[in-house]
């Protein structure tokens, strides 16, 4: 019974709270820029409005264009469900960190294909850049996974979270892996300096260019998917690098504390993101390799330092 309740919370809480997180980040950014900003709940209203509206499809849009937003959202949602947000004693879904990366890859491919379906140049430019970012981020992600898996001896997130929670000491390699994963997260969620979620200037768009043809409920699914992806990456970082308070047994008070701490971690992550985004400028497309190359380098250095520390032990 408890397991079922935990599973349902795991399934629904992130989706329910993802728009709030996005609203929070937007609010903080606006305040940092001296504006009052939209209300915190504005993303919910936007989504409700989009859901009510009738979508307009291009004449030559195919079944793939109509189905991709749902499929991509389903993949991101499943990946989110596999991340232990407040307890490691939840249902073992059999999806480890590599599978989560794979599911996010599935979502990316579906949206990129949908971007090319209508046959406009903006869809193509977005798909091309999105797949480029993916190709640069994936090796870095895998090397970071190697570094974490050497410490935790597993690629399953509950194991990683538990291993980190047991105290592995303050390690240089952990800091490097954290740096790598944060950079990958910024690139994958389409935040500044890689992409700008607020831009509508044609030549700087990546994600926005791909979904330019979408409207109505299809656009709502894509927007909610992007919000969920941000929640996913913040939860992922929190679960590995800040495993404090993640419950190990199914006791109600511990679970509630874990849930509360998860919200706090999301808020801190969102705050840090807003400050970082305000402080930095968007970079050119051909600077991506340097940015994500640095992430790869961090990952490799992390692995090397781990070898050395194991050797010295």
């Amino acid at each position: 019974m408890t397991a079922l309740v935990i599973f349902i919370v795991q399934l629904l809480a992130p989706v329910a709270l993802a728009p709030l997180l996005t609203g929070f980040v937007r609010k903080i950014k606006a305040r940092l820029l001296g504006r009052r900003g939209p209300p915190l709940l504005q993303p919910y209203r936007d989504l409700a409005r989009l859901l009510r509206k009738e979508p307009v499809l291009a004449h030559n849009a195919s079944w793939l264009f109509r189905g991709a937003p749902y499929g991509a959202f389903g993949a991101v949602w499943l990946a989110m469900t596999a991340i232990p947000i407040f307890t490691t004693s939840s249902l073992n879904l059999g999806l480890d960190l590599i599978a989560i990366a794979g599911l996010l890859g599935l979502a990316r491919i579906l949206i990129a294909l949908a971007g090319m379906d209508v046959g406009t140049s903006f869809g193509g430019i977005g798909a091309s850049r999105e797949m480029t970012i993916g190709a640069l981020a994936e090796p870095a992600m895998f090397v970071a996974i190697i570094a974490l898996a050497i410490i935790a001896n597993s690629t399953a997130l509950p194991d990683m979270s538990r291993a980190m929670g047991d105290g592995v000491g303050l390690r240089v390699s952990l800091a490097l892996a954290l740096g790598a994963i944060v950079m990958i997260a910024i690139a994958e969620t389409g935040r500044i300096p890689v992409d700008n979620p607020a831009t509508h200037l044609e030549l700087t768009m990546v994600h926005e260019a791909m979904v330019l043809e979408y409207s109505g409920r299809h656009l709502a699914m894509i927007e909610l998917g992007a919000m969920l992806k941000l929640t996913l990456y913040l939860s992922l970082i929190a679960c590995i690098f800040a495993p404090w308070g993640i419950a190990r047994d199914a006791e109600a008070s511990v679970l509630a504390a874990g849930l509360g701490l998860w919200l706090a971690k999301l808020a801190i992550g969102g705050l840090a993101l807003a400050v970082f985004e305000t402080a930095i400028a968007k970079m050119r497309v051909f600077r991506y390799p340097e940015f994500l190359g640095a992430a790869l380098l961090f990952g490799i250095l992390g692995v090397v330092f781990l070898y050395i520390s194991q050797h010295l032990k």
Partner: protein, 680 residues
């Protein structure tokens, strides 16, 4: 099933192939024979599956049946042997054979010279069916060369085009080189005593020098056939030149037979392997994978693009095999078994989705008459059934869950993680590098197949050929649908094929049975793939498949409840300025441009040349993109130059007077005598 029955069936299959080849010669006159001949070829492959599947599923790993035929060289005879590894590769070959033959019924219905395909086609299948069961060097090489020569004839099917003739020449040269290298390897292993049966080689313990020489020769011989860099240069020329269903067989099955030779040779015949063979193979595999994926992304020909992607996947399998060898040399049999299982599973999966994609490219060629990606577009509206089938293949090869490509790549990545625990520092450092290369290859492949599917099937037609394309024959669709169904099934239930594959792998890396634990947890294999006990991560294809399907269904259900459910059609938005010309879409070249510039400018010396006319001038702007394959530039072009110069010099020997020839012979005799005298 008893051993005798198995060999009877295998013999029957080969007899059928010979009869079919003879029948194939007559199809130019009687074109009504085409369909029945292909149907019989499919039946022969189906019969060939029976003993293979029987060995693979029913029996446990140690089951081996042998047969000695009193034909062949005197004193050697022909030795045949069917064990788990051979059975697996027979399954791969014959699955591909069935799909290719069924597809051929529709594909070749209106070919002008069908005998060019139908005569060598059964012989090609026969060669690939013979190699895995051969148990002596002589029989092995007969099968190997039959496979090479028959596929060479198939590459020459379209010999009217100069490109195809060049491809066939390069292919024949590389095949001859590969066979020579294999001959050397077997010669070294047989030793002075001439133990040419594999049984004798297994028993003999070659000295480390001989074993290393044989291993390197095997790597050259089998590696060139499989397409390992830098010996891959023939593959992207020859595979696309053949008819599409033959391309599917060459990429899906023939490269796997070459990997079979590599596995058999390096894990069984060369005695105890040395760790650095595995390290070398893993690094070559990682580089091959990244190079193949990158080049696939730069090609504008549908079938060439697929051929480069074959190189990528061969690299992945070779990397896993290399890790298996390194583990075995270090005495970690459990990890070796997992790495080998990963290699075998990816070989099986690649044979499925690559055959599917080549058949899909053939359907596009059949429907539109072109292989040029930049002339296609919008085929999802014209090839209504082909499009979703090809999409399944694209997702499978992009290694995303819940398809089978991800399941095997997941196992490969788990092996890479294992490899960080190897004892040698070189291997420890190679592991993350190989892992990063494989991850890069997977991501580049995903980009490449978004490009392939997006340009060919999505968007607006760029050409009349694409706008008026017609859906292909039912037999072609049936072949593709069968392969797609297997991709889905092996993705959702990877535990089912893995149950057999782990037994095969265990028998190979651990013949004496001292393994400390099971490779995969047997009880839950239906639900999850759980590697050996030291790694606790699991992957459940079923949860991934059902999870994505269920959550997508929930979302569709909820949105249809809260929204009106209607849609309106209108012109494309395109930021308010839609251009009616389909030429304003992104092209294949422009889609790959960022990655071509980031990686290709160094590795492939990719250069884009843009000529813009001055403002107001009426002449058109021009764009040209040039690339070069580093293997051609650094290895083969210098080699060809060297051979050409040497032959020009030696050509002088043809025009000498007889007294000079006599003195040359005399000098040679004296020279040999001196060598003999010194050697004594």
């Amino acid at each position: 099933m008893s051993g005798v029955d198995q060999w009877f069936l295998i013999g029957m299959v080969h007899a059928m192939f010979v009869v079919l080849a003879i029948g194939g010669c007559m199809t130019n006159r009687w074109s009504a024979l085409i369909a029945p001949l292909y149907a019989l070829a499919a039946l022969a492959c189906l019969i060939g599956m029976v003993p293979a599947l029987g060995t693979l599923i029913a029996a446990d790993a140690g089951t081996v049946s042998r047969l000695v035929l009193p034909v062949g060289l005197p004193d050697i005879q022909s030795h045949l042997r069917l064990d788990g590894l051979a059975a697996l590769f027979l399954v791969i070959v014959n699955l591909g054979g069935i799909a290719a033959a069924v597809y051929g019924i529709g594909y070749d219905a209106h070919t002008s010279q069908p005998a060019r395909i139908l005569a060598p086609f059964p012989l090609f299948l026969a060669g690939m069916n013979l190699v895995p069961v051969a148990d002596d060097a002589f029989t092995f090489l007969i099968g190997w060369e039959l496979m090479s020569v028959a596929s060479w004839l198939l590459v020459l099917t379209g010999h009217e085009q100069a490109d195809n003739r060049r491809a066939a020449l390069v292919y024949l040269t590389m095949a001859a080189f590969g066979a020579l290298a294999l001959l050397m390897a077997f010669g070294a292993l047989a030793g002075a005593g001439g133990g040419y049966t594999f049984e004798a080689m297994r028993r003999a313990m070659p000295s480390p020098t001989v074993a290393t020489l044989a291993a390197l020769a095997l790597l050259l011989g089998a590696g060139s056939k499989a397409g390992l860099a830098p010996l891959h240069v023939w593959l992207p020329l020859a595979h696309p030149a053949a008819p599409s269903h033959v391309s599917a067989l060459m990429s899906g099955a023939m490269t796997k037979v070459a990997l079979y030779a590599l596995m058999r040779g390096l894990l069984e015949l060369t005695g105890t392997p040395q760790w650095w063979w595995g390290g070398l193979l893993a690094v070559i595999g990682g580089l091959t994978a990244a190079l193949g994926a990158l080049q696939s992304l730069t090609q504008n020909d549908t079938k060439t693009l697929l051929a480069y992607s074959t190189i990528e996947n061969i690299g992945v399998i070779a990397a896993a095999l290399g890790l298996a060898i390194a583990f075995r040399a270090s005495g970690q049999t459990l990890q070796a078994g997992l790495a080998l299982t990963a290699a075998l599973f990816h070989a099986l999966n690649h044979s499925l989705f690559k055959a599917l994609l080549f058949l899909g490219a053939g359907a596009v060629l059949h429907g539109t008459g072109t292989r040029a990606l930049d002339r296609l577009g919008g085929l999802i509206h014209r090839l209504r059934w082909t499009a979703p089938l090809v999409l399944i293949g694209c997702l499978a090869i992009s290694a995303v869950p819940p398809l089978n490509g991800f399941a095997s790549e997941w196992l490969v990545f788990q092996s890479v993680l294992d490899a960080t625990g190897l004892g040698h520092w070189e291997m420890k450092f190679a592991a993350p590098v190989v892992g990063a290369l494989l991850a890069l290859a997977a991501a580049l492949a995903a980009a490449g197949f978004v490009r392939f599917f997006g340009i060919a099937f999505l968007g607006r037609p760029r050409d009349d050929a694409a706008a008026t394309a017609r859906e292909v024959a039912p037999s072609m669709l049936a072949a593709m649908a069968g392969l797609a169904a297997l991709c889905l099934a092996f993705g959702a239930w990877p535990g089912v094929p893995l149950a057999s594959l782990t037994r095969v792998a265990t028998a190979l890396v651990d013949p004496s049975g001292v393994l400390s634990g099971p490779l995969l947890d047997g009880r839950t294999a239906w639900l999850v793939v759980a590697p050996h006990g030291e790694l606790t991560a699991v992957y459940s294809g079923l949860v991934a498949a059902l999870g994505v399907a269920a959550l997508t269904g929930i979302v569709v259900g909820i949105t249809s409840m809260v929204s009106s459910g209607r849609v309106r059609r209108g012109p494309a938005w395109d930021c308010g300025f839609p251009d009616p010309s389909p030429l304003t879409q992104y092209t294949a070249s422009s889609l790959g441009q960022p990655l071509r510039r980031i990686f290709g400018s160094v590795v492939l010396a990719a250069r884009d040349r843009v000529e813009m006319p001055p403002a107001g001038a009426p002449e058109p702007a021009r764009f040209a993109s040039t690339l070069r394959d580093p293997a051609w530039h650094y290895v083969f072009d210098p080699l060809i130059g060297l051979v050409t110069r040497a032959t020009e010099r030696l050509n002088l020997l043809q025009f000498l007077a007889i007294r000079v020839y006599l003195s040359l012979m005399f000098a040679a005799l004296i020279g040999l005598l001196i060598i003999v005298a010194v050697a004594r």
